[in-house]
């Protein structure tokens, strides 16, 4: 039982990442009708916002320590971050340690800027083009973005730990009446889950309760009619693109303490998030979120030793298998609308 609770937690956590990426993808599908293969790259850029902020905080000057030696036997150069001098070592250390949460603030304007320039500079010319062209151009963009990151940050994963206050893990075992130590869950993963829930809730509330959101939802359902009403839907769609980029970016920022970011993390998530979106059903935001959590939980269960020993290899293919089964039993995924991306 405790094993199952743990796997549900794991699944929800994985699902959070899937759902956040899929949410943005669906917004872009639904509003702009664009297949965005660069969405994984946006997630990756978000993660590297956190890395960059950390790097900025640790920009240092060098002093020579004549006593200690470096690996070549020369006097050791000691690096001291400038912020230590500016804010004192205590605040400086705290800033570096808290750089991931601080990167949320840092990344929002950057991701919005990236989203706006992507949509205005490139995507808007592809609204009327075939999906194949959209795939080619966004895939090309994704490669370019990740190669740029690779050029500056290298190919290795870069550790970006969570603040020390949030690195431990919580013991739910006693709370729920199990043995102590049987249900342990890292604080940061709980933070991630809560964060994801808040973002998802925020996006839904925004779309439901603001005029802006209502217009966009109407536009998703029937672009022409809304356009006929004299509403400038294009401008709103641009903002939606920036919002989607921002959601992906934030998902990336918060993900960095869970797994050290590297330049191809976006591609790793891209295919899965496409599967999530399609399983959820094209054009359905609720479907994307539901499918994200569903596939996350199923993936976690499939990796349990008992299940793998019963069906070897099931942990490798579970997501795809579930996708096939769902698409064959429900033609438009969980909650898809008719006629979206079906031709």
């Amino acid at each position: 039982m405790d094993a199952i609770i743990l796997q549900i937690l794991n699944g929800l956590d994985k699902g959070s990442a899937y759902a956040l990426i899929a949410l943005g993808l669906t917004l872009i599908f639904g509003t702009l009708g664009v297949v965005n293969f660069a969405h994984g790259a946006l997630f990756m850029l978000g993660a590297f916002c956190a890395v960059t902020l950390n790097k900025i905080f640790t920009i240092s000057y060098e002093t020579i320590d004549p006593v200690r030696k470096d690996f070549l036997g020369n006097p050791l150069k000691v690096e001291t971050p400038y912020i230590f001098d500016w804010f004192g070592p205590d605040v400086g250390t705290a800033m570096i340690e808290w750089s991931v949460p601080l990167a949320i603030l840092f990344s929002i304007p950057i991701m919005i800027l990236i989203g706006l320039s992507m949509e205005r500079g490139l995507i808007k010319y592809f609204y009327k083009r075939p999906h194949a062209d959209q795939i080619l151009v966004t895939f090309g963009l994704a490669i370019v973005l990740q190669e740029i990151i690779k050029y500056f940050y290298g190919a290795n994963p870069i550790p970006t730990p969570a603040p020390p206050a949030l690195t431990g893990s919580a013991d739910f075992g006693v709370l729920l009446g199990f043995d102590a130590g049987s249900i342990i869950y890292p604080y940061w993963r709980l933070v991630y889950f809560v964060f994801a829930a808040a973002i998802i809730g925020g996006v839904f509330a925004f779309l439901r309760y603001t005029t802006f959101g209502m217009v966009v939802r109407a536009g998703m359902a029937d672009r022409e009619t809304v356009g006929l009403l004299g509403i400038n839907i294009d401008k709103r769609f641009t903002i939606m693109f920036a919002l989607a980029a921002c959601v992906a970016g934030l998902a990336g920022v918060m993900y960095t303490p869970i797994n050290s970011p590297n330049y191809h993390m976006g591609m790793d998530f891209l295919v899965l998030s496409f599967v999530v979106v399609v399983v959820g059903g094209m054009g359905s935001l609720e479907g994307a979120v539901a499918a994200g959590f569903l596939l996350g939980v199923l993936e976690s269960f499939a990796s349990m030793g008992e299940i793998v020993s019963l069906l070897p290899g099931i942990n490798q293919i579970i997501i795809y298998l579930v996708a096939i089964i769902i698409l064959l039993t429900r033609p438009r995924g969980l909650m898809g609308r008719k006629g979206v991306m079906e031709e």
């Binding site: 796997q7 050791l76 190919a155 290795n156 870069i158 342990i184 797994n259 030793g305």
Partner: protein, 449 residues
């Protein structure tokens, strides 16, 4: 950046004929049979092929390998401070190239995919006339390229490849490995683990679901079980896995008190990070402190895991903090040129390049079969791992293996591992027909054409 003279020889012979034949319109037809051996260098230069990952997750490791190769070429051609050529026990190399021919090189991208690696190696052999291929950062690639070199008739000097199979069931006459392997990791680690954690432990293995993972798990299991550990669980994890939480949590439910992560590269970084996140380091199981073991360590990858590696045992082929003369010479010339210490991948690649050049000098010929003969059973020293033997039976180097531990107080971003023990070679040597490496045969050396 070192500069070399222009000109890429395709095949020595053809280059010579091209130079002589300018203005001659008469076509000359060669059949592939007209060479003594594949890509025989006939001009004043010889071309080596450096096939390393330049894209994909191991690109940084590949870049470090390439740095080492460039350094080796510089030293072979008489440039720089000579590096390990000065400490190498064999004195055949004179710093005038190989057999008096200037060393040139071509590079390619393996992408860490067997297909791409083979395509890249083929292009070096067919287009650039490379006489030897070396490099790589995974066993799948090493085995695939080794097979290709055997068929094409050139020598393959493996880069970083740790699976038993490279010199086990997939060994080839034209292929040689300096790097250590899974068996050696297991054999070197077990006693150290026994000393540090006791012989009454329950181990849980997470294993990357591919060839290298299997052989590593097998090696570590059999050597730890031999000293009394019990293996309570072994789960295979998909290669593409990035979040290992769902594989870590079952460990909490098991009665294991040691977790062995048979992962490498990005897998290792992520699984170790996740394991630490779930508090395994602070856990007490069966009245003992819970421990994590990473059988194959790489400093580059350890960097990706950050503080999580502290205090975690693993094994490695070589580390820059070694203080023998060879290591010191290598670290000095690499560090002076590039500004940071070399990785174990760089070390093995540098050594492989030198060993090849030395073998050619001693054999007096580039003919692969002569080189094979010169390398088989070759004993040498001064290359950073103590006295070493290139065993004739399987073309595997036998040398000391390092057991290392993540350092508690690193002084720099390179100073992540500390050497716990240098396991003597006798302890990691195995019979060529040991069950973990049995099967396959070297076959006969193939000089091509």
């Amino acid at each position: 950046m070192a500069k070399f003279n222009p000109g890429f020889s395709r095949r020595g012979l053809l280059k010579a004929s091209a130079v002589a034949g300018v203005g001659l319109a008469a076509p000359t037809i060669f059949s592939s049979k007209s060479y003594a051996y594949m890509n025989e260098p006939k001009g004043g230069t010889v071309t080596l092929g450096f096939n390393v990952p330049q894209s994909g997750p191991y690109a940084d490791e590949g870049a470090d390998e390439l740095r080492a190769y460039e350094l080796a070429v510089e030293h072979l051609n008489g440039g720089g401070d000579g590096g390990m050529m000065n400490t190498f026990s064999s004195k055949a190399l004179k710093g005038n190239g190989i057999l008096g021919k200037k060393v040139e090189y071509v590079t390619g991208d393996t992408q860490t995919k067997s297909d791409a690696a083979r395509a890249s190696a083929k292009s070096m052999i067919e287009k650039d006339g490379a006489i030897m291929i070396t490099g790589g950062s995974s066993s799948g690639v090493a085995v695939a390229v080794q097979g290709l070199c055997q068929e094409a008739g050139v020598i393959f000097m493996a880069g970083l490849t740790h699976s038993n199979d490279t010199t086990g069931k997939d060994k080839k006459a034209n292929g040689f490995r300096h790097f250590f392997n899974s068996y050696m990791s297991g054999a070197a680690l077990a006693p150290v683990l026994g000393k540090a954690y006791g012989t009454d432990r329950k181990a849980y293995h997470l294993t990357a679901d591919y060839n290298w993972g299997y052989t590593t798990e097998e090696a570590v299991r059999s050597s730890t079980e031999a000293m009394g550990w019990e293996t309570v669980g072994a789960v295979k994890t998909p290669l593409a896995q990035t979040d290992f939480s769902s594989y870590i949590t079952p460990v909490l439910q098991s009665d294991a008190d040691v977790l062995v992560l048979n992962h490498y590269g990005g897998n290792m970084v992520n699984s170790l990070t996740n394991a630490v996140q779930f508090g395994l380091r602070d856990r007490v199981a069966n009245g003992k402190n819970f421990e994590i073991v990473v059988p194959l360590y790489s400093r580059l990858m350890a960097k990706g895991a950050g503080a999580n590696v502290k205090g975690i045992f693993g094994s490695t082929n070589w580390h820059w903090s070694l203080t023998d003369e060879g290591s010191k010479a290598f670290v000095k010339s690499f560090g002076t040129k590039y500004g940071f210490p070399p990785s174990q991948a760089a070390h093995t690649c540098y050594v492989q390049a030198l060993l090849y050049a030395d073998a050619v000098e001693r054999a007096g010929s580039f003919n692969p079969c002569a080189v094979v003969e010169a390398l088989e059973g070759f004993e040498f020293d001064g290359m950073g791992n103590g006295p070493t033997l290139y065993r004739a039976d399987d073309h595997q180097c036998f040398k000391d293996v390092l057991v290392v531990k993540g350092k508690e107080n690193p002084t720099s971003e390179f100073d992540l591992l500390e050497i716990v023990e240098v396991t003597p070679v006798a302890q990691v040597t195995y019979a060529p027909d040991h069950p973990q490496v049995a099967g396959g045969s070297l076959g006969k050396c193939n000089p091509g054409s």
